[in-house]
């Protein structure tokens, strides 16, 4: 079973200067700000941009849980889900990001 977050040894190899970890903190703030907006196409598009990048990158840097939650949300957004439908998944992702 994959670990939900990278070990210290993995971080030394994958993210030696901590830039990806810092990005996750920034992404959480951006995601929370977008989630607080009223439902709109712009909100969905911005949500899609943040989540798609997270879905591709988080698992690569060892953040398996964030990656899996981002992928689940990204798949919904790609399939054209409405804001109300993805709101619980956004909450799940924000919770995972909060643990970083």
């Amino acid at each position: 079973m994959r670990q939900p977050a990278p070990t210290e040894a993995e971080l030394e190899v994958l993210d030696p200067d901590g830039s990806f970890r810092n990005r996750l903190v920034e992404d959480r703030a951006r995601l929370a700000a977008v989630a607080a907006q009223k439902p709109s196409k712009t909100k969905l598009a911005e949500l899609g941009r943040i989540v798609h990048q997270l879905a591709g990158a988080a698992g690569t840097f060892g953040y398996a849980e964030i990656g899996e939650r981002a992928i689940a949300l990204d798949d919904k957004l790609i399939d054209g889900a409405m804001v109300a439908e993805v709101t619980p998944l956004v909450g799940d992702l924000l919770a995972a990001l909060a643990a970083v």
Binding site: R23, H52, A55, G56, A57, A58, T60
Partner: protein, 253 residues
């Protein structure tokens, strides 16, 4: 354009971008995610490869025009366009370098489209760095004959199977010796081609070669290229040989 040319493991490259002595190669990474690009750069340099990184499709085309890469790793979602279009454009320009496509698009149909448009391999994000290393090594092991037999510079494509030079889709009428000379110069683009090498390519052991025959062929070829609007120049190094350069790249430098 930002090219990172500081990678360790720089080495003399053969005409297809591979090292003459080892499987160390020059690799172009086209990725707009700075963290992923940085990770790939570290990993590949750790294997002794030289890595150039760009984040835009336009910069990738420019880099491919001026450098001989042994491999390209291209992300599908680029800020100025779709990576699929970039791969198609690379192939249209007869850039036959192996391409490993990288994407967060996970559906089977996305992978099929990626491979159909000219990529040699496809890796879905998130990925394990060990898998990238393995795929890169596998692609670099492929013999060059599997990578097509077309070479290109500027708006000129030389189809070495059809023995034909093509400028923007139109065949260039050349005498056979001019074609042979052109193919040699394009294969050795940006490198000095000694006069002796040209003589050995154009003539057999028993052929009599007059003192100025190579100069005459070069002169005719220059005229033909100029008349067809090919964006290249054949530079002369007196007493040494000739070098074919892309005028667009030369101007940019």
């Amino acid at each position: 354009m930002t090219l990172d040319l500081t990678g360790a493991g720089r080495t003399a490259l053969g005409r297809d971008g591979r090292s003459e002595t080892a499987l160390q190669a020059r690799i172009l990474v086209v990725e707009d995610d700075a963290d992923i690009a940085s990770l790939l750069g570290r990993e590949l340099r750790g294997l002794g490869h030289t890595v150039d990184a760009v984040r835009l499709a336009e910069d990738a085309l420019q880099a491919a025009r001026g450098n001989d890469y042994a491999l390209m790793i291209i992300d599908l979602g680029l800020p100025d366009g779709d990576g699929l279009d970039l791969v198609r454009e690379m192939r249209r320009r007869a850039i036959e370098v192996p391409i490993l496509m990288l994407t967060a698009r996970r559906k089977v149909e996305d992978r099929v489209i990626g491979l159909s448009c000219g990529a040699d391999d496809y890796l879905v994000k998130p990925f394990a760095v060990s898998e990238v290393r393995a795929r890169v090594s596998a692609l670099l092991r492929r013999p060059s004959r599997l990578r097509g037999n077309r070479v290109a510079i500027a708006n000129l494509v030389v189809d070495c199977d059809a023995l034909e030079a093509i400028v923007e889709g139109v065949s260039l009428p050349l005498a056979f010796k001019q074609y042979q000379l052109l193919e040699l110069l394009v294969r050795r683009k940006n490198h000095m081609t000694p006069k002796r090498m040209i003589e050995e390519t154009l003539y057999g052991f028993d052929d009599e070669v007059s003192a100025n025959s190579i100069e005459a062929h070069v002169s005719k070829l220059r005229r033909a290229l100029r008349a067809a609007g090919v964006g290249v120049n054949i530079e002369t190094r007196r007493g040494i040989g000739y070098r074919l350069v892309d005028l667009g790249v030369a101007a940019a430098n």
